[in-house]
Amino acid sequence: MSEKPKIAVYTCYCGGNISHTVKCEQVAKLLAEQPDVVVSRTNMSLCSDAGQSQIEEDIRELGVNRVVIGACAPSLHEQTFRKTVIRAGLNPYLYHHIGLREQDSWVHTCDADGATCKAVRLMAAGVAKARLLDPLEPIQLEAEKRALVIGGGVAGLRAALDIADQGLKVVLVEKTPFLGGRMAQLDTVFPTGEEAHILLADLIDKVVNHDKITIFTQTEVTKVSGYVGNYGIQLTQHSRGVSAENAKALQDACQQMVADEFNYGLTERKVIYQPYHGCYPPLPAVDWEHYNGEPININGKSEILKDEIQQFELSAGAVVVATGFDPYVPREGEYGYSELPQVVTLPQLIRHMALNPGAKSLEWQGHKVRDIVLIHCVGSREIEGIDEPQEDGQVNNYCSRVCCTATLHMIEELRENFPKLNIYDLYQDIRTYGRGHEDYYINALDNGTRFVRYHGEEKPKVFAAPKGDTHPVLVHVTDALTYNQELEIPVDLVVLATGMQPRQIDDLVKMLKVSRGNDRFLLEVHPKLRPVETAVNGVILAGTAQGPMNIQESISAASAAAAKVISLLGSGQVELQPFVAAVDPEKCNGTGACVEACEYEDAIALETFVEDGKEVTRAVVTPANCTGCGACVAVCPNRAIDVQGWTLAQYEAMVDAIAMDIVDLVEAG
Amino acid sequence: MMAAEKPELSRGELLKKLRAEHAQTVERTQELLKDQKRIQRDICSFIRETPKSVPEIAKEIGLPANQVLWYIASFRKYGIVVEDGMCEDYPLYRKAEEN
């Protein structure tokens, strides 16, 4: 580093977020006194165009060659300012960012002087580091122009289609033998009343016939390695177990029955099965999880079905996670569920209606339903301390977003089909928020549905009625719409509007190193800045794996995910941050301690060179595989390794500045 | 379109045309300016020495309080008045020092 550092320092008010606690002007003034600082400014919001222009101007006009910014967390705007610095013609890594908001003003709101002192120290440390910064170049890598989409529900299908439509290759992986996910289990859908399977068939048709999309069903991701632009993926696929030739005969001959999860256990199916007519792929499959291994007799020949598991390796530049949701399953006894046969979930009732089209009256287990009650928010909006936690200790304190409209949509169906039915709707708040959703509520109010409002602290109770009563079940509820009147409603059927939970995807979460929120759904980086991206570069979310959504929202999220994949991989190149280990060959004498300490595959290795006619061994870093964790730095006896952009010398300078007496700091200026 | 007319008119002619077209709004705005100047003078002289609240100013100069507040907000923005203390739930305003 030859040129003399000329450092510009900026202390941002963050529109008051910082300046309400930290005396920014004072900080700026003190920093201006530091050696090598040529300008020290404050700004109301530095990330605004005017703020950024100021930085550019200083670089251009004052010959600034190092930039130190104290503002919000680097996760928010470090990238923003990198681009600013580039625009002014400076290497983007000659800029250092300090999180004055998250690390100072927000945590010391009651101590303005302390916070100001801390800000001075942090900024002085930043200046000390900046002095030693070297220009770096991002690591450019060739990107695999192929995306992996995990999950073949509506979100996964849509993401695959949108990515492929832009000319990138897609591999779509579905765990079950059939495409469509939960949407296939719906009958008609809000807000349009269209038939789910027709909408779905249309989408599946486009996906299946797309020459850029390869589909794997009965397949799971079993290994993930690599990084954005070049993930190595291992897929494990179960065999279908039947062929086009023998499928029908085998299915006919198969005797083993299991509960049909497609109908949420309302019916049974064979272990060789097709969930519904018209599903894709059209070939039946064997349910290996439940198949008892017994031979099946066809034409006097007995055949034992064998699952031939296959593995595939592929590389993908990006991964879209669209693993969807599971409906909440009530605990035994929750509102009488699984104790009283007259208590069902909304998904079950949807299947029941779909299985009995054109029925003259609503029948449940052979009995005519005259009075029906639907209870909202089952397994959603639970309250800490009142509701029993789930198995993992969490209460589902979120709203599942679709169940209100789904319930009212069901009420409309019930009313149309069974005009005489008495319908009670027990709710906390009706959340028909979307376009066209409120109409279902208005219609239900008009068509004689009786609404009862309960409080989350005081849930309705479901009991078996005494023998000889007119109805099998009694529901007790306190109605907040009629001044907390206690009601006892005798009914024939109780429907629980169960919410959404993410699917069990622990393995996938671990392999991809993505995080989950408190609600266990997958977590985005920032709901506004990067709403479909995860903190892992190149891993993107689509649909209800991220949180409750309806079909329309799942599709939008999937298309948004596709847009991110295309921006990322479209050019065939990705950039990685250059914060990786770098070996100083002068100091390295090939002890190999670093290779042992490194936890990542192929990140650092010993290589032999000829130097001045002698053979020498030196450590060599493969930047693309290095995560910059610094484990090697710590063990090198010769201090021959540094993480670029965060060198030991830089750390030491920062520590010295932070540890300096504040008086000295001021005087050092 | 209007854009096509541009080269045909000189700057002077264009300005003349603009004045003619906007004669009414100019007149209306000139009236407004007169009012604004008077109100600014009245408010400023009332709060030159001691800071006052919006209702006090409104009472003194006979303007509805919401309008007074609008003026105060504007004066604050352009550095003509500053906030100076509170009286019960009302902030007080004072004329800024001239510089």
């Binding site: 529109g15 977020n17 109301m44 919001s45 990330c47 605004s48 165009d49 005017a50 919000c72 625009r87 949108d162 439509d165 859908v189 349009t192 989408l203 304190n397 979120y398 959340r431 979307g434 066209g436 959703h437 409120e438 907040a480 009629t482 609600d519 506004k528 709403p531 329309q552 929202e553 599709i555 939008s556 999220a557 298309s559 948004a560 847009a563 921006s567 479209g570 050019s571 950039e575 | 854009a3 007319e5 541009k6 603009l18 709004t25 100019v26 705005t29 000139q30 300016l33 604004q36 919006v54 209702p55 309080a65 919401n66 507040l69 907000a73 504007s74 923005k77 352009y78 739930d89 009302y90």
Partner: protein, 436 residues
């Protein structure tokens, strides 16, 4: 002005339009963004802090504005109106009117000397009329572009601005100009407007000075707000009791707006929390029918507000009047108690609803019953309008919050790019992809 040729034209520079433009630009397409106001940013740039994260709004918006302005694939046209959209064989010919700024956009540096010299003060639309700016001005401090504009309707043509401008940018001879944009696809991001404050006689018909709209409250809570603190606009008092009236412009048959505006529960709760921060002694009451905190993390937000002491009262506000000190008096039927009570507040905020922002006829589109763009197949193509090649995003397609606007913006960008590709057969391989 030369004719412009692009792959995509985004109309509207609010958060949805900006995000759609950025996504299309990042994918390597040439984009034009047309905004009718002098600055991009839309409603979002006027907000204080935004739910559910409570980030300060300008921390999220201004960098996006800046990114749009500097993106190598995006051309920004502010203070422009779309006049007509003609279908061509492979796209659209869009005629755009550049309104005169009376300031030379190429030379103006945004120094604001004209603003300080200008003698006329007018109500600022940025502050919903409660703050002010001058006839010659940069519309607000974080405006993009930082170019002054002169409001000729409130000008006395005194020329003071012209005299002080250091670069001679003031130009009274500017005329409206039309130019055309030749584009393959269009993304409509024309946004929303609030329902009218004066729509309901029961709520004072807009004549009660201390009954305000929620965007006014956003301005009071913003660090750059007109008063620099939260005051009631009637007389500059710090309000100690504040009421929110939910569904004041939505779910109301008499207004012809039967739908839910989807954001009002959350913004009311957010504002209550911010008020508690700004005025720790203030008491906030929210009158509601249903609390609709359905988004990710939103229910928790609601529970936090309850825990902070915000009072939620279920009931329909029947009438708002005022007492002799202009204190609003709220008459409410409380459904849980089964009574009707009257309560006096210092300030009332009407949680107004959202209506579609711009008439659609010039785009050759007709509205659905709710006034928003008709989307023929929401469950298959939620961003596609009736006209192939024209897509919709953000609140132009129905009420929604910022999170949802941003997701639909990326979705619309995806749909538009698929369309562009199908029309032009430009392979992604051949296109230059910008690294910005």
């Amino acid at each position: 002005m030369n004719n412009v040729k692009v792959d995509a034209l985004v109309i509207g520079g609010g958060i949805a339009g900006m995000q759609a433009a950025l996504d299309l630009g990042d994918q390597g397409y040439q984009v034009a963004l047309v905004e009718k106001e002098p600055s991009i940013g839309g409603k979002m740039i006027t907000l204080s802090k935004v739910f559910p994260t409570l980030d300060c709004c300008s921390c999220i918006t201004t960098p996006k504005m800046s990114a749009v302005a500097h993106h190598p694939n995006i051309q920004m046209f502010t203070y422009c109106e779309v006049e007509s959209v003609d279908q061509q064989e492979n796209g659209f010919d869009v005629s755009v009117l550049q309104k005169p700024r009376y300031v030379n956009a190429d030379t103006c540096t945004g120094c604001r000397l004209c603003e300080y010299a200008c003698p006329i003060t007018v109500p600022s639309s940025f502050d919903r009329g409660l703050g002010s700016y001058r006839t010659a001005r940069v519309p607000f401090s974080t405006a993009v572009p930082q170019i002054a504009v002169l409001d000729i309707e409130n000008c006395i043509l005194c020329g003071k601005c012209e005299k002080v401008c250091p670069v001679g940018a003031i130009d009274f001879t500017q005329q409206p100009e039309t130019f055309s944009i030749d584009t393959t696809s269009i993304v409509l991001a024309t946004g929303f407007e609030l329902t009218d404050l004066d729509a309901k006689n029961e709520y004072g018909a807009g004549e009660l000075p201390n009954v305000i709209d929620p965007l006014m409250m956003e301005r009071f809570l913003a660090p750059t707000g007109p008063y620099g603190r939260v005051l009631r606009p009637g007389d500059g008092m710090e309000p100690m009791t504040i009421a929110y009236v939910q569904c004041a412009g939505s779910r109301d048959e008499t207004l012809g707006i039967e739908y839910c505006s989807r954001t009002c529960c959350m913004y009311a709760i957010k504002q209550s929390m911010l008020i508690s921060g700004a005025l720790p002694l203030a008491e906030v009451t929210i009158y509601y029918m249903d609390i609709r905190t359905f988004g990710k993390g939103y229910e928790q937000f609601y529970q936090n507000a309850k825990a902070m002491g915000v009072e939620f009262v279920r009931g329909k506000v029947a009438k708002i009047t005022e007492d002799e000190n202009h204190n609003p008096v709220v008459r409410v039927e409380r459904t849980e108690e089964g009574d009707v009570v009257e309560r006096t507040f210092d300030l009332v905020v009407l949680s107004l609803g959202m209506v579609a922002g711009d008439p659609l006829s010039k785009f050759g589109l007709t509205p659905a019953e709710d006034g928003y763009i008709k989307i023929p197949s929401v469950n298959a193509s939620p961003c596609e309008t009736r006209r192939p090649g024209i897509f919709v995003t953000g609140t132009a397609g129905g009420p929604m919050d910022i999170v949802d606007s941003i997701v639909t913006a990326s979705a619309a960008a995806s749909a538009a790019s698929a369309y562009i590709r199908s029309k032009t057969q430009v392979g992604i391989e051949e296109r230059e992809v910008a690294h910005v």
